[in-house]
């Protein structure tokens, strides 16, 4: 987004109010695009799950339930710290804002670390699409589809997390320099919106990829 660098109101805007509205609406519209972006993947997932229910149950049994669950908690907690950070920014509490931003970044990194560990585990198990792929032969073709979608969905999600971490670091630097002013915390708000969105995507991914037919 085009941020106020020297003066708060950018020259194309008439007032701070207008700029705030524009920035926030811009992020919401962007998130609408993001929903449709992930939507294509969710559609493919749904179609193939209906086509190959047994293979889906079998393959999802190979994802790591423990890591998925811990990561869900980690991400949800990070959304809390983002909100607390926004609260601190609105009240002009600089040190608290920095604290919560650091916490968010730490939680985000934890998520990625655990996810990376899980990917490594899949690699050892031979779940990567490609010549080394080994899963029960009777389901192999459809299970491969599941793993493809699994990697596409979680991979894109992880990519969004990385972008989110970049944005959070940007906020942290600005907060450190005292550039986030209580009368205009729009950056914290809109980057927070993005972070929550990435979080919500995970809330859908977790049951679809980790919990499908686990009881069987």
């Amino acid at each position: 987004m085009d941020g106020p660098e020297t003066s708060i109101v950018a020259e194309q805007f008439q007032s701070l109010e207008q700029q705030k509205d524009a920035d926030t609406l811009g992020m919401w519209v962007f998130l609408a695009t993001e929903i449709m972006f992930f939507g294509g993947l969710f559609l493919a997932y749904t179609v193939y799950r209906i086509m190959y229910p047994e293979a889906w149950a079998e393959a999802s049994g190979h994802t790591s339930f423990a890591i998925g669950t811990i990561n869900t908690f980690v991400l949800l907690t990070s959304s809390l710290t983002v909100v607390l950070g926004l609260d601190a920014a609105t009240l002009g509490r600089q040190r608290k804002l920095i604290l919560f931003l650091v916490l968010t970044i730490v939680l985000g990194l934890t998520f990625l670390l655990l996810k990376g560990f899980e990917y490594y585990h899949h690699y050892k198990e031979g779940l990567f699409p490609g010549p080394g792929f080994r899963l029960e032969p009777e389901y192999a073709r459809a299970a491969l589809l599941f793993m493809c979608l699994y990697f596409a969905m979680t991979g894109l999600h992880a990519l969004h997390m990385i972008v989110g971490l970049g944005l959070m670091s940007f906020l942290l630097i600005r907060a450190w320099r005292g550039l986030i002013r209580p009368e205009f915390p729009a950056h914290v708000e809109i980057i927070g919106l993005y972070w929550h969105f990435v979080d919500i995507v995970w809330i859908f991914l977790y049951p679809l990829l980790y919990l499908v037919d686990r009881h069987q």
Binding site: M1, D2, S7, V9, E11, Q12, F13, Q14, Q18, D21, A22, L25, G26, V29, F30, A32, T33, E34, M36, F37, F38, G39, G40, L41, L43, A44, V47, Y48, M51, Y52, P129, G130, R141, A142, L144, L145, C148, L149, A152
Partner: protein, 542 residues
């Protein structure tokens, strides 16, 4: 920060404010970015046009006059891809939307000027990749990238092309985002939604489609890349995938994309019809909301491209009925334009000729759309030249005409110069004749059973094909003429003055060309759009 002193009337216009190449390439001025788009989009138009001309020359004889069939496959693919993604979709929104929207809403710029510049660079990067792909030998999948042509089957440069379209997609998304936010939050005081010019309603509806449909194409192309990279079968039936799923995902974007192409042109036609009839548009509210209705219905009809791809009878029925429903808001527009003409004082300046041509050709394109939405007829004409003729009536007869017309309409504002109206009228007429001669025979060819995408055809179709090729040559002249006299007018044209057409709308209140920040003071709007009656009364002419 508001340096009012330097803005006292003598401020240089946006073209003269700086001259260096750097000042153009790093500009955040929406007007300059519009011109960057105009140059690049027009360039792509002529590149894709050359592919089309080569195809038409090849089809002059039944066994194919010029190329091997493999080459022909690449020609029509490259023609389709470059026309669709690098001309039709960005044409009116990115060129004239960029130029006119802030002026029309009474703002200094779009909401996010840097993002706007970024989207031009993304567009150029995407276009660059497409050109690289063409230079390496092109793609032979057809513009639709159908599986299995685009999966592990095709040996051509699908990666480059898919990457180019993927990146250009983000350019579309960011531009649409900018437009939506600008129209929502940056309207001048008093400029309520129902006072907006209809061009803005159209652009708004277009932007909503771009925002919601483009990402689906992006993810589909990403999955194809994934499929090719890991040799897996996300869509390939041999490996467990479902090729029809690809078609659903593709058309979920590409059918609404048709409305991305046509809605902006419709919006501009409303401007021109009102201006050159000196009347308020008939049924303003209906025309405004029909744009939103088209955008909404447009999302519900995609599977009418797939009636022969293995769809249940009920599925086909539903999509057929919904496709008929799109005709309603489209017809509302045509009827309202016609009613606006009724008892208007019509003048036939160049933009008006383009607008009238648009109405006629769009009506033919739209009505034949009903033919192909009818299940049984669809089976008969599927994949024939009837389809080719139908969508060219919409895309060339509609969008390309709208693009040319709107450039003529806003040219005095863009350049500050008048183009020679005589030449303009001539070009519009030549183009209209050439267009019909090119594409009307294709309706007949398709109905008689000539398949599209074949490098050869049965000898009895030769006469109509020769007609079509002759028409394409004339059409080409109709496109090259404006290029010449518009460039000529930059140097030799008469000064346009702020409002040469006597049009309403905030953009005509600024000097031509407008100063960098458009308005010295933000205008306050107390009137509705197209208040031509008040204007005539003031001039004492009515």
């Amino acid at each position: 920060m508001d340096d009012t002193a330097t803005r006292a009337g003598t401020e240089p216009d946006y073209l003269k404010v700086e001259h260096s190449l750097r000042s153009w390439l790093l500009t955040t001025d929406h007007k300059r970015i519009g011109i960057l788009y105009m140059i690049s989009v027009t360039g792509f138009f002529f590149i894709a046009g050359i592919f089309a001309l080569l195809m038409r020359l090849h089809l002059i004889s039944p066994e194919g006059a010029l190329f091997k069939p493999e080459t022909y496959n690449r020609l029509f693919t490259m023609h389709g891809i470059i026309m669709v993604w690098f001309f039709l979709i960005p044409s009116i929104p990115n060129v004239l939307g960029n130029f006119a929207i802030p002026l029309m809403v009474g703002a200094r710029d779009l909401a996010f000027p840097k993002l706007n510049l970024l989207s031009w660079y993304l567009f150029m990067a995407g276009g660059g990749l497409a050109i690289v792909s063409a230079a390496l030998g092109g793609v032979d999948t057809g513009w639709t990238f159908y599986i299995p042509f685009s999966s592990n089957f095709s040996k051509t440069h699908v990666y480059w092309m898919a990457a180019g379209i993927f990146i250009a997609g983000f350019s579309s998304i960011l531009t649409a985002l900018n437009f939506i936010v600008t129209i929502h939050t940056m309207r001048a005081p008093g400029l309520t939604w129902l006072r907006l010019p209809l061009f803005l309603w159209s652009i708004y509806a277009t932007s909503v489609i771009l925002i919601l449909a483009t990402p689906v194409l992006a993810i589909t192309l990403l999955l194809i890349a994934f499929e090719r990279a890991f040799q897996v079968g996300i869509f390939d039936p041999n490996l467990g995938g479902d090729p029809v799923l690809f078609q659903h995902l593709f058309w979920f974007y590409s059918h609404p994309a048709v409305y991305i192409m046509i809605l902006p042109a419709m919006g501009w036609v409303s401007e021109a019809i009102a201006c050159f009839s000196r009347k308020r548009i008939f049924g303003y509210g209906f025309v405004a909301f029909s744009s939103l209705a088209i955008a909404t219905f447009g999302f519900l009809v995609w599977a009418h491209h797939m009636f022969v791809a293995g769809m249940s009878m009920y599925g086909g029925l539903v999509f057929s009925v919904l496709s008929f429903a799109v005709a309603v808001p489209s017809a509302i527009k045509v009827f309202n334009w016609t009613a606006t003409l009724h008892k208007g004082s019509i003048s036939y300046h160049t933009p008006m000729l383009y607008a009238l041509g648009f109405i006629g050709l769009f009506t033919i394109g739209g009505l034949t759309g009903l033919f192909v939405a009818t299940l049984a007829v669809n089976v008969h004409v599927h994949d024939t030249y009837f389809i080719v003729a139908h969508f060219h009536y919409i895309m060339v007869g509609g969008t390309a005409l709208g693009y040319l017309g709107s450039i003529h309409y806003w040219w005095p504002k863009i350049s500050g110069k008048l183009f020679p109206d005589m030449w303009g009228r001539l070009a519009a007429t030549v183009g209209f004749i050439g267009f019909n001669l090119t594409f009307f025979p294709q309706f007949l060819l398709g109905y008689l059973g000539m398949n599209r995408r074949y490098a050869t055809y049965a000898p009895e179709f030769q006469f109509l094909n020769v007609l079509s090729t002759a028409g394409a040559t004339i059409l080409g002249v109709g496109y090259i003429l404006p290029l010449i006299y518009l460039l000529w007018s930059l140097r030799y044209g008469k000064e346009a003055g702020p409002n040469p057409w006597g049009a309403t709308g905030l953009e005509w209140l600024t000097p031509s060309p407008p100063p960098k920040h458009n308005f010295h003071e933000v205008p306050e709007v107390t009137w509705g759009a197209y208040n031509y009656h008040d204007m005539e009364a003031q001039d004492g002419r009515s």
